[in-house]
């Protein structure tokens, strides 16, 4: 007969509610490994673009952003993610060489229009520099770049001289190298 059905429903009715939640007010406990919205450490991102290349859905794009670390990321290009296309597969995180791109537990990205779910570096960045810091870093980077340029110019000069020297010494092999 069907007595058991009635027993079980009664048992559950008396039993408290455990799993169901009132969603926006009460959120579930998410594990540390949760793959939610990305987080970008702009201080360490080197703008290599590995995440762009691995993404199966082409949802990452490199965009210019000024509060990053120009010492590491010379072109100041950082990933911008289109969550309309993102599958949250985590391949970009796996491939990131500096581990600057990670995924957080945050998953609420609903917006009123499509542009709201394209999150640029400004939205996902942590460790943003302040304006002064950014300016200072930019200055440093400029100096570094200049120095490097100088060095490079010097190196190029030296190389040229060396090459010329080599050319003089051995014409055949020099041509082959080029």
């Amino acid at each position: 007969m069907v007595v058991k059905n009635f027993q079980l429903t009664l048992k559950h009715a008396i039993h408290g509610i455990e799993v169901t939640r009132l969603y926006p007010e009460v959120l579930m406990d998410l594990p540390a490994a949760e793959r939610g919205i990305h987080q970008l450490d702009v201080r360490t991102c080197i703008g290599c673009g590995a995440c762009v290349r691995i993404c199966p859905n082409d949802c990452i794009e490199m965009v210019t952003y000024k509060y990053g670390n120009p010492l590491k990321n010379k072109k100041m290009k950082f990933p911008q993610i289109d969550y309309g296309r993102c599958m949250f597969c985590g391949l970009c995180v796996d491939d990131c060489p500096t581990e600057c791109l990670t995924m957080t537990k945050d998953f609420q990205i609903a917006g009123w229009n499509r542009d709201d779910i394209i999150l640029g570096p400004d939205d996902i960045a942590v460790g943003k520099y302040s304006d002064e810091e950014a300016a200072k870093l930019a200055e440093e980077a400029r100096i570094a770049a200049e120095e490097k340029k100088k060095k490079k110019a010097a190196a190029a000069k030296a190389k040229k001289a060396k090459a010329e020297a080599a050319k003089k010494g051995d014409e055949g092999s020099g041509e082959k190298k080029e």
Partner: protein, 570 residues
């Protein structure tokens, strides 16, 4: 036990010269290229003399360099021996035609139709070569060929032409532009055949018969597919099934992705079995690369796959209950709650609730977190307790018995003939489980039973699932006890480029036999990925099973099969 070598020698002696090439990959894999004229006889010989009674599928490969098409027929046995024979038939690319196996194996029908509509390979003597997955307008452009140039852009609304048909319903036609015709995206000639609707109308005989559409938007369908019933009163006289409403072309997408990028795509074939799909795909890559997965990674894979099986069965059973009892039937909701806990266990490892993208060639993405074992053990304990309670409930519920016993009976012979696999097959007294037949990972070291039932009705199918939940819990507990330490990822190159060759890898999906047939040419993208999904096979078996049932039973039968449309239309 018969091995691949035995089968090969028997074939060679029976058909001298018909085996053009062969390769014995292992004891249970036989690859052979056979004479196209003899394929039917060879298959008949294998079926009758060598117990190859399980037609597992067919895959087409476009060898554009050699101007050839290859059709690979995959044959296996229902438990008599573990050999899988993959017989390749070559056919020229300009006039492709292969002999049909539908006379030998009933379930070859859909596989051949799929190859026909996707490659344009004709199957001689096929009873009805109609498109299965594609829209009628797209048939003729043969999308899976390598020289396919893409469809015309049907997204532009300005070109849409609305045609009101005599019944007053609007149809939409999109005529291609001249530029598109020149670019070759529109087929020049289209095969002619009656449409699905016309075929149905042709079969209406008496005035008291009517065609009742269940779907594509109907409460019983787990995803969009159309089940049309020819009913007289409420008795089903014949059923027609139309799939392809959400065809995603995953096999074609995989051909355009690198191997590692393909993993998240395989999740989407069936998100209830995402881990099994990952496993099948990565397993096939590992076969080609000949790498061995570290033992800890193997254990992690087994744990997660079994947890995934538990959640899939819980959802499948719950959904089935909602079909026969309404969404207000409480056990449906309880099962969803149990499933949530199981999913949370998986999530704590993989970081995602349904689409995990977790398994990598040569290992897994990350290690088990701290406290996983305790969490899983407590979750499993509730699952086992609750499942036992459900079993007791169904045993004592005489209304359930009235509704389900003796409904949709599949006899063992019929089940094998229709090519179903997984729980529906095991419910029909055929203990056929890939974990036993084609053991992978650490399954040989684990102690588990293959659940089967004798009755073969809807009730038995549900019982098998409930028992498998308990058995899976048992497996996970064993794994948690035995799991060794060590690395979780074998060294693989950053850019995966498997050796050129072919591999066929089978896993036991929650729904049955999931096989991936992978062809590589040594680059970082596969040449061909063929997914042999279990639900494709059940779906084909649904129409004959429904004949003679009541409309209400249709729900019970279709629900007890636990179908996943997403995977049919992968």
């Amino acid at each position: 036990m018969t091995t691949a070598n035995d089968v090969l020698s028997a074939l060679q002696s029976a058909f001298p010269g018909a085996i053009q090439e062969f390769r014995v990959e292992a004891d249970n894999r036989l690859w052979a290229t056979v004479d196209p004229n003899k394929i039917v006889e060879i298959c008949e010989f294998l079926r009758d003399e060598q117990d190859f009674d399980h037609y597992s599928g067919a895959a087409g490969v476009d060898k554009i360099d050699e101007a050839l098409f290859e059709v690979t027929e995959i044959l296996a046995s229902h438990g008599a021996h573990p050999v899988v024979a993959l017989l390749k038939v070559k056919t020229p690319r300009d006039a492709p035609s292969v002999k049909s196996l539908t006379d030998l194996f009933w379930n070859a029908n859909w596989y051949e139709r799929e190859i026909w509509e996707m490659f344009g390979i004709n199957f001689e003597d096929h009873p009805g070569l109609y498109p299965l997955l594609l829209v009628d307008e797209l048939v003729g452009s043969w999308p899976w060929r390598k020289d396919f140039k893409g469809y015309p852009d049907y997204n532009t609304n300005e070109r849409v032409l609305e045609i009101i048909n005599p019944d007053g319903y609007a149809e939409y036609k999109i005529s291609p532009t001249e530029a598109e015709i020149e670019a070759g995206t529109v087929p020049e000639t289209r095969p002619e055949y009656p449409t699905f609707r016309e075929r149905e109308i042709m079969e209406l005989e008496t005035e008291s018969e009517m065609i009742l559409h269940l779907g594509p938007q109907h409460a019983i369908v787990p995803g969009p597919f159309m089940l049309d019933l020819k009913v007289d009163g409420e008795r089903v006289k014949k059923a027609y099934l139309d799939v392809g409403y959400i065809h995603k072309g995953i096999e074609k997408i995989l051909e355009n992705r690198t191997y590692i990028q393909g993993i998240p795509i395989t999740d989407r074939m069936c998100y209830l079995a995402a881990l099994s799909n990952n496993e099948a795909f990565c397993g096939a890559i590992e076969r080609l690369m000949e790498i061995e997965v570290p033992e800890r990674a193997q254990y992690i894979r087994v744990i997660l796959e079994e947890l995934s099986r538990i959640q899939s069965h819980l959802l499948g059973t719950g959904e089935f209950l909602s079909l026969i009892g309404g969404v207000t039937y409480s056990p449906f909701q309880w099962m969803i709650i149990d499933r949530e806990e199981t999913v949370s266990c998986i999530e704590s490892v993989t970081g995602a609730r349904i689409t995990h993208s977790f398994i990598r060639p040569g290992g897994v993405r990350n290690d088990l977190p701290d406290g996983f074992a305790e969490m899983t053990r407590s979750a499993l304990k509730t699952v086992v307790d609750k499942t036992n309670e459900y079993k007791e409930l169904f045993l004592s519920d005489s209304m359930y018995e009235m509704r389900m016993a003796g409904i949709g009976v599949l006899s063992p012979e019929e089940a094998r003939r229709l090519g179903v696999s997984g729980p529906p097959l095991r419910a029909s007294d055929t203990p056929y489980d890939m974990r036993r037949e084609d053991p992978i990972l650490v399954y040989p070291d684990l102690d588990f039973d293959v659940i089967s039932r004798k009755e073969g009705d809807s009730k038995a199918r549900v019982e098998v699932r409930l028992d498998e939940i308990i058995e899976s819990c048992h497996i996970v507990e064993q794994c948690l006890d035995q799991i060794p330490g060590g690395p979780i990822q074998e060294k693989v190159p950053k850019k995966i480029k498997p050796n050129p060759g072919e591999a066929y890898y089978r896993v036991e999906d929650p729904r049955g036999e999931m096989g991936i047939f992978l062809v590589s040419d040594g680059t970082d993208k596969p040449v061909k990925v063929k997914v042999r999904g279990p639900v494709f096979a059940y779906f084909q078996a649904l129409p004959p099973l429904l004949e003679g049932a009541y409309v209400a039973d249709v729900v019970a039968i279709a629900g007890s099969m636990d179908a996943c449309t997403s995977e049919v239309d992968r």
